[in-house]
C-alpha cells in the first residue's frame, strides 16, 4: 500500500516536472524550426517521393501545415520573413505541389502571400502553371495567372488569354467572361483586385486567413473610393488634386479614409493612389 502511494506521488511529481518542461522544449524546437523547414525545400523531388512511399498526399498536407506553422512562428516572433525565408517557403510549396499537383491550398497560399507580401509573382506563376496541369478543370489557376499579369505587372495583353481560359471552365464566376475585354476600361488594377479578393474570401474557411483578406479588401476599397474621387476632381477641374485634403475641401469625400494597415494614403503624380503601408502588415521588422 505504502509502495503504491509512493509510486503515485512519484508519478505526480514527474507529471508536474514534465508539464514545466513543455515550454522550454517548445522554445528549443522553435530555434530549429527554420533550419528543418529550409532543409525540406532543398530535398530533390524524386527522393522526397521515394521517402513518402504510398503516403504522398498526407505528407503534402503535413508539409503545408508546417508552412502555415512556419508563418505563424514568424508572426508569433513579431518578425517579417526575410527574403531567404520567402525563398524557403516557395521551395517547400514547390515540393508540396510536386507530391500532389492537384492540392489547391498551396497555390492559393502562394497567390495570397508570396505575390502580395514578397513580390514573387514570377515564382508564383511557375507554381500556377503546374496547377493548370494538375487541376485542368479549375478556373482559379488561370484566373490567378491573369490577375498577376494585370495587377502586379500591368500587362493587360498577357492577362486577357488567361482570363478567357478561366471564364470557360466549370464554376467560373460570370463576370470573368467580360473581364478580359473590360480590363483596359478600368484605368487601374484596383477593381480587379477587389473582385479577386471577394472571390478568395467567399471560398476561404480559415477565419484568420479570411480576416487578413478582408483587411486587404477593405484597404483596396478605400483606394478605389479615392481613385474615383480623384478622377471626378480631374474631370471637373482639369488637373489632379495636389493632396487628399483638396478632395475633402471640395467635398468629393467627407474625410480622408484610414488605411487598415496603419499607413497613410497619398496621391502620386498622375493621380495614382498610394499607401505608405504598401498593403503590408506593419509588424516589427528584424
Amino acid at each position: 500500500m505504502i509502495r503504491t502511494i509512493i509510486l503515485i506521488v512519484f508519478f505526480f511529481i514527474m507529471s508536474v516536472v514534465n508539464i514545466s518542461l513543455v515550454n522550454p522544449v517548445k522554445q528549443i524546437q522553435g530555434k530549429y524550426i527554420q533550419e528543418s523547414y529550409t532543409r525540406i525545400g532543398i530535398l530533390p523531388t524524386s527522393l522526397l517521393q521515394a521517402i513518402c512511399l504510398e503516403f504522398q498526399g498526407v505528407v503534402a498536407d503535413l508539409l503545408f501545415l508546417k508552412t502555415l506553422t512556419f508563418m505563424g512562428y514568424k508572426i508569433d516572433q513579431n518578425t517579417s520573413p526575410e527574403p531567404e525565408d520567402w525563398q524557403s517557403i516557395y521551395n517547400v510549396l514547390d515540393k508540396i505541389t510536386d507530391l500532389d499537383p492537384s492540392f489547391l491550398d498551396p497555390y492559393v497560399f502562394a497567390e495570397m502571400i508570396l505575390t502580395w507580401q514578397a513580390g514573387m509573382t514570377e515564382q508564383v506563376d511557375n507554381l500556377l502553371h503546374k496547377a493548370t496541369i494538375g487541376r485542368p478543370n479549375d478556373y482559379r489557376p488561370h484566373f490567378y495567372l491573369g490577375f498577376n499579369a494585370f495587377y502586379f505587372r500591368n500587362l493587360a495583353s498577357e492577362a486577357a488569354p488567361h482570363l478567357r481560359k478561366a471564364s470557360v471552365l466549370p464554376d467560373a464566376p460570370k463576370y470573368l467572361a467580360g473581364l478580359a475585354s473590360r480590363m483596359s476600361l478600368y484605368g487601374s488594377q484596383t477593381v480587379l483586385g477587389i473582385l479577386f479578393l471577394e472571390e478568395l474570401i467567399a471560398e476561404t474557411y480559415d477565419p484568420l486567413t479570411k480576416q487578413q483578406l478582408k483587411t486587404r479588401l477593405d484597404a483596396l476599397k478605400q483606394i478605389y473610393l479615392l481613385e474615383q474621387a480623384v478622377n471626378q476632381y480631374k474631370t471637373e477641374t482639369g488637373v489632379f488634386p495636389k493632396n487628399l485634403t483638396d478632395l475633402v475641401d471640395r467635398h468629393y469625400i467627407e474625410r480622408i479614409p484610414s488605411d487598415p494597415y496603419g499607413g497613410e494614403f497619398v496621391i502620386l503624380s498622375g493621380g495614382k493612389i498610394y499607401t505608405t503601408s504598401n498593403l503590408l502588415p506593419q509588424g516589427k521588422k528584424n
Binding site: A50, E54, G57, D61, L65, S102, F103, Y205, D206
Partner: protein, 269 residues
Amino acid sequence: MKNVIPVSFLTYREGLKHKVVLLTTICALSLMTGSVLISGFFMRDISKIILDFCLSITNIGGLLIPFFLAITLLAGDIEKRTIVTILARNISRTEYLFGKYLGISMLTATVMLIFLAATLLAILGGNFLYSNIYFKGFSISAVVQSVILSYLGISILNAAVVLWCSITTTSFLATLLTIATYLTGQSIDNIVRFVESPPAGIEISTSISKTVQIIQYIFPNLAAFDHKLSAAHGALIPFSEFAMLSCYAFVYIIATLTLSTILFIRRDL
C-alpha cells in the same frame, strides 16, 4: 480443399481474439476524428485533407495485419507447434496454408471495412462542422475504389507473409522479409523507371540494370495499388485499369500461395 473454409474461420476467430484488432480500430477511429479537426487548419481543400488522413490511416490499419497479426497467427503456429495438432486432424498442408491465407484476408477486410465506415463518418462530420461547399469534389465511388485497391495490395503482402512463414523458422525473420517486400514493392516502380531512363550524367551499370529488371518480375508492384491521392480529389481510375490491377493481384496471390505450398509441403516440421 474442403477444409480450407473451416481453417480460415478458425484463423479469423483466433485473430479476433487478439486485442490488436480492437485496439487498432479504436486508435484509427480516434485519428480519424483528429483528421476532421486538423482539416480545419487548412484554407479550402478540407475534403481532400480528411480523405488523405483517413485513407492513409485505413491503409496503415490494413498493413498492421500482414506486419504483425498474420505473422503471429502463422509463424506462431509453427513456433508453438500447434500446427502439428491441426495437421493431425486430416487437414493437408495445402488446405492449411490456403485456409490461413483466407482467414488473414478476412481479418484485413474486416479491419479495412471498419476504417472505411469511419472515413465516411469523418466526411459526414466534416460536412456538418464546416460547409458542404468544401465537399463538392468528394466521390464515394472513388473512395471505395481506392480502399479496394489498397486491400488488394495488402492481400498480396498477406500472400508474401504466407510465403515467408512457410520457409523461415522464426517470426522475426518473417517480419523482416515482409517489411523488405513492402518497401521493395513500393519503390520498385520508381527504381525501374530511373534505371530505364537515368538523368543526364548518371551512368547505370549493365549488371544493376539487369538485376533491377529481374527484380520487377519477382516482387509485386505495390505502388500501382495506391490511388489514395486521386480518390482524395474525387477522381476514379478507369474500369479497365481497375480490372487489370485486380487481375494482377489475383494472379500474383495465386502464384505466391502455390510457391508457398510447394515449399511448405517439403518442409520438415
